[in-house]
Structures are given as structure tokens and as C-alpha cells.
Amino acid sequence: MTQLNDPGALPASMPELELASQPIGSGTPQAIDRQVSPRRAAVRRFFRYRLAIVGVIMLSVIMLLALFAPLLTPWPSNFVDFAAGARQPPSAEHVLGTDVSARDIWARVLYGGRTSIIVGFGAVALYLVIGTLFGLAAGYYGSFVDQAIMRFTDTIMAIPPLLLIIVFVSVVGPSIASVIVVIGLLGWPVTARLVRGQLLVLRESEFITAARVIGVPDRTILLRHMVPNILGPLTVVATFGVATAVLLESSLSFLGLGVRPPEASWGNLITEAVSPVVLTMLPWQWVPAAIAITATVLAVNFIGDGLRDALDPRAAKSR
């Protein structure tokens, strides 16, 4: 489990790490439940992990809130309510009060949630696609292409992500789209390595060699054998990736380098809090957004943990 939570960024999953952490000859063989299909067994294991269920519920609630924002508040997110005034505490008309520009905070939290969630999922979708393509290319073509792509991923992974993203966002100018693109363009290495790793394993395995000898086309092999194997780890990577992307976007917006006002995003709702007055005397301005981010990331992490246990029973033993 990882967070790119400012520094201390531990990568989402490191095949090398797992490889390195096993002493030779480890592990006791696991009993396999032969009566139930592997997929159903996985689902059952997922639900046995209580926190995962909690996570699913939390995330669903949050996403529903964001989705149905217009139904949950009469105020548009950018509407300046002159009658109420700026910096007002919570009241009947404004359940979380108004911000420094006299806009309703609850509305901005809801609509900001849309932005943050879209960025989170959008960026991950983007880098899943890019990473898979690169990983396939690396694993399939091997030798020079493989080496080139691997060095490329090493390069990107050598620079701390937040730094790299800050640099490139400031070059292209901050906006929702640029944040999605930049996080996506810089997050694909892990996916690529995963895909490549799987592909390499397949290439070594005997029955694949046999299949090829028989004449089964490569595409079928990829589809039928690789995809099912990789779907699991990829889902786990993607899930943790969403958590990371949400944190990255909120950090960027907090710094003023991501989603810019007047657009709302959870991160830029907290920017005001560096002012001592807002921090101490106007907590309703920033605490709701802070809770929103934490809850979302927590939920996604729970789900990710559950998924990982469900899809890799061996790892479940060391939980």
C-alpha cells in the first residue's frame, strides 16, 4: 500500500520488492478450494475482509454525494451570496457557512468532490492504458525495446512524483485537464513494469512454449492467459493509484498549482487555511474538505487492501 503523500512515496507495488523479500525456499503450499471457481473464491475472501466492505460503503456514499450534488444543495458552487456575506458561520441557508468570497461551502465541497474524483479516476485510467501499452511492448519485443523502455521508466521513477508534476504543470498551465494528463503521463511506469513482468513470466512458462509450438497465435495467448493473470494485480495497482492520484491532485491544488479558483477542488478549498485567522477562527472553511479527502483515500485504501488479499491468498497469510 502506498501513498504519494508528499514525500516518503513508496511505489504502489514493486515486483522486485516482493521478490527480494522472500528468502529462498519460503512459503508453505496453500490449500486450494477446488469446489468453487477461483473468481468466486476471491470475491468471498474480499468480503471476509471487513474493512473492505466499509471502504466500499464509504466510497459509494462519497461518489453518490458528488454525483447528486445539484439535488443536495440549492447553491451553485460559484454563486456569490451577497445577502449572506462572506466568512459566515454555518446557518440554516448555508449548512457549512460561506467562504471568503461569499460562496456556499457545502456546495463547493460537493462540486469539488466531482473534480477531485474525476481527476483521480481519469488520471489512473490514462496511465493504465499507457502503462499497459508500454509494458506489452517491452515484454513482447524484448531486447533493445525492452531495455529502452525500462530505462525510461527508471528515469521517471528517479524523480519524486510531486516535483515532476509541479514542474510540468507549471509549464503547461494548471487546469483540470492538465492535471489529469500530467499525473497520467508520469504514473505509468509501475503499470508498465507489472505488465512486462507478467509477460516475461508467461514467456518462460512451459505450457506457453508448448502452445506456441502447436501454433496458437500470440494474440490468443495474450488474451486467454495473460489477461486473467494480470487483471488481479492491475486492479490492485489501479485502486491504490486512485488514492495516490486524489492525494496528488489535492496537494497540487492546495499549492495553487492544480485546479485554480474559481473552480472548486478539495485541495484548493484548504488553501485558505494557511492564514492564521482561517485556521483558528473559521474551521468550517477547510475542515470539511480535509475530512472529504481523508475519507475518500481511506475508503480506497481499504478497498485496495481487500482486493489484494482477495486476489493473492498467499499474501493474505502475512496479514
Binding site: Q3, P7, G8, P23, L255, I270, S318
Partner: protein, 325 residues
């Protein structure tokens, strides 16, 4: 061992080149006149008065040549000689700007990383040894929670509680105005370093726990136990030694941040380091400053990785031979 180190260094070279390309791309993509960031401001002022000289200087610097490969190699040559260009916001050389900030960042990161290790690893070990106990669940939950909270939220809460409410600690900056003594420095260091340490400790706890569990469940450990070896000895000598490997990896991964600086933490605590410099550079769209920071960070990370690889090799002799595959 020597051959192993050499191999690791050789592999790093393409990555190093990749980093320079990345930095160069960042430099070139930024809008603005490249002359502003390449020429000493004193010289530039004189040139500006004379359009012909200005044109000649542009030609001399090769800005009329194709970006790749000509401009790239020329730029690379400069960098290798220590010339990183000039910051447009302060009109001073980039190396000076970075040099002035680096010590503060190193101090903050070394202290916070050390704290993180001192907190994270023991807790990880404890939770692994006491797996499934209430202590395990409690600490684990705390770790997940802390890892899910954005660092700026943690920092703001910490400032609110310890600085504003209790007045125990200052709200930021490296020193109190006018003071330079060590005690003052430590006083100011506590809050940012602690926040960072907690943020870094959370994933460290989980990884340590996971790898310790893997090791504890292995046959040879259970064998050692059944032989009657004292538990503590077993843990200390066998499990920990083996668990050391992923820990070295993780520490090596935490080190890159040490040079980039904790961007957000430095911003909130007004800590005068590389991270704050990066944010200022981004806000001011100062291309050579950003390029300089990328370069410095990348090189430092590579160096840290090589050191980590050496650490690997020392901790686990098999690595030296496996790596040859």
C-alpha cells in the same frame, strides 16, 4: 563486489542521461526568452542595448540551431561545468540559489527520515510478532489512517494544536527572527520533522510488518524455534536480518524526497529549502530554476539507489550473484 558495483553504476548511466533529457525538455518547453536564463544578467544588460551584439550572442549560444542534438549537447556541456544558468526572479546563478537552500532541506529530511525509521521499524516488528492481537489491529489502523490523510492536513492540524493553541512550538520558519543558535533550530525543527516522520512511518510500518511476517512464517524460522532457540534471538538474528533487505529498499525510496524536499511541508512551515524553492519556481515560471532542481534531485536519487544496492549486496550475498542474471 567491485564488479557488482561497477555493473550497477553502468546501468545508472542511461538513466542519468534520461534525467538530463527530462530536465532539458522542462527547460525548453517553458515559454520565455532563453537568453534571460542563460546569460549572466550583468552581461545581458549591456547586450540589450545593442541589437547586433544581442543577435551575435544568440548565435554564439546556438539558439538558432536545432534543439536536438546541438542545443542539448551544448547545454549538457555547460551543466557538467557547473553552469546551470540564471534565475529570472532573483537574477542570481541557479547553483547559488540551490546551494543556499540545500542544507535546510537535508537537515529536515535526514532528521525526519531517521525519526520515521526509528518509529516505523520497531512498530512494524512489534505488530508482526504480535500478529492478530489488539495491538496489531490498533497500530495497523492508525497506520492506514495516517497514510490516508494528506500531509498538508496533518501539518495544519499540528500547527493548530501545538503552535497556536498550546504555544509550545513555533508556527514555522527555520529560525526565530534574529537567532541562530542550535537550540532555536531544534525548536523550529520539531514540528515539521515530526509531521514528516509520521507520514513516512505509516507505509514503513506496513512494509516492515509484511516482510517480517513473511520471514516469521518460513520454515527455517519455525525450525529454529523448534530447536529451542530463544524467541528474541530468533527474531533478532534471523528474521531481522532477512527483513533488512526490503527495509533497505524502502529507505532508498524514501531518500529521493530528501533532496527534492518535502514540497508541501516546507511550504506550510515556511521552511527555507528546495521544496519551497520548487514551488516558487513553478509559480514564477522560472524555467532554469526548475530544471536545476530536477537535475539535482535526479542525480542524488541515482546515487542513493547505488548506495542502497551496495547495502543490499552487503546484507545478502546472493544478490551479487543473482543480479548477474
Amino acid at each position: 563486489m567491485g564488479a557488482y558495483i561497477l555493473r550497477r553504476i553502468l546501468i545508472s548511466i542511461p538513466v542519468l542521461i534520461g534525467i538530463t533529457i527530462l530536465g532539458f525538455v522542462a527547460l525548453k518547453l517553458s515559454p520565455g526568452d532563453p537568453l534571460l536564463t542563460s546569460v549572466n544578467p550583468e552581461v545581458l544588460a549591456n547586450l540589450m542595448a545593442n541589437p547586433e551584439l544581442l543577435q551575435a550572442e544568440r548565435a554564439r549560444l546556438g539558439f538558432d540551431q536545432p534543439v536536438f542534438p546541438n542545443q542539448y549537447f551544448r547545454w549538457l556541456g555547460n551543466v557538467l561545468q557547473g553552469d546551470l544558468g540564471f534565475s529570472i526572479t532573483s537574477r542570481r546563478p541557479i547553483v547559488d540559489e540551490i546551494g543556499a537552500r540545500l542544507p535546510q532541506t537535508l537537515l529536515l529530511m535526514v532528521v525526519s527520515l531517521t525519526l520515521a525509521i526509528c518509529i516505523g521499524i520497531p512498530i512494524g516488528v512489534i505488530t508482526a510478532v504480535r500478529q492478530y492481537s489488539k495491538l496489531d489491529y490498533g497500530l495497523n489502523a492508525a497506520a492506514i489512517f495516517l497514510a490516508s490523510t494528506p500531509v498538508f492536513v496533518l501539518a495544519l492540524i499540528a500547527i493548530y494544536v501545538f503552535a497556536v493553541n498550546l504555544h509550545w512550538l513555533p508556527t514555522g520558519q527555520v529560525h526565530t527572527v534574529g537567532r541562530t543558535d542550535l537550540l532555536d533550530l531544534v525548536h523550529h525543527l520539531i514540528l515539521p520533522a515530526s509531521v514528516l516522520a509520521i507520514v513516512n512511518a505509516a507505509p514503513l510500518i506496513r512494509y516492515t510488518r509484511a516482510s517480517m511476517l513473511e520471514v516469521l512464517n518460513t520454515e527455517y524460522v519455525t525450525t529454529a524455534r523448534s530447536k529451542g532457540l530463544v524467541n528474541r534471538l530468533v527474531i533478532g538474528r534471523h528474521a531481522f536480518r532477512n527483513g533488512l533487505i526490503p527495509i533497505i529498499t524502502i529507505v532508498a525510496f524514501l531518500v529521493p524526497e530528501a533532496v527534492a524536499g518535502a514540497v508541501i511541508t516546507e511550504q506550510i512551515f515556511a521552511w527555507n529549502g528546495m521544496g519551497q524553492l520548487a514551488v516558487k519556481a513553478a509559480g514564477a515560471r522560472d524555467p532554469s530554476l526548475m530544471m536545476g532542481i530536477i537535475l539535482m534531485t535526479g542525480v542524488a536519487v541515482l546515487a542513493a539507489n547505488i548506495v542502497a544496492d551496495i547495502g543490499y549486496a552487503i546484507a545478502d550475498p546472493r544478490v551479487r550473484y543473482d543480479a548477474a542474471k
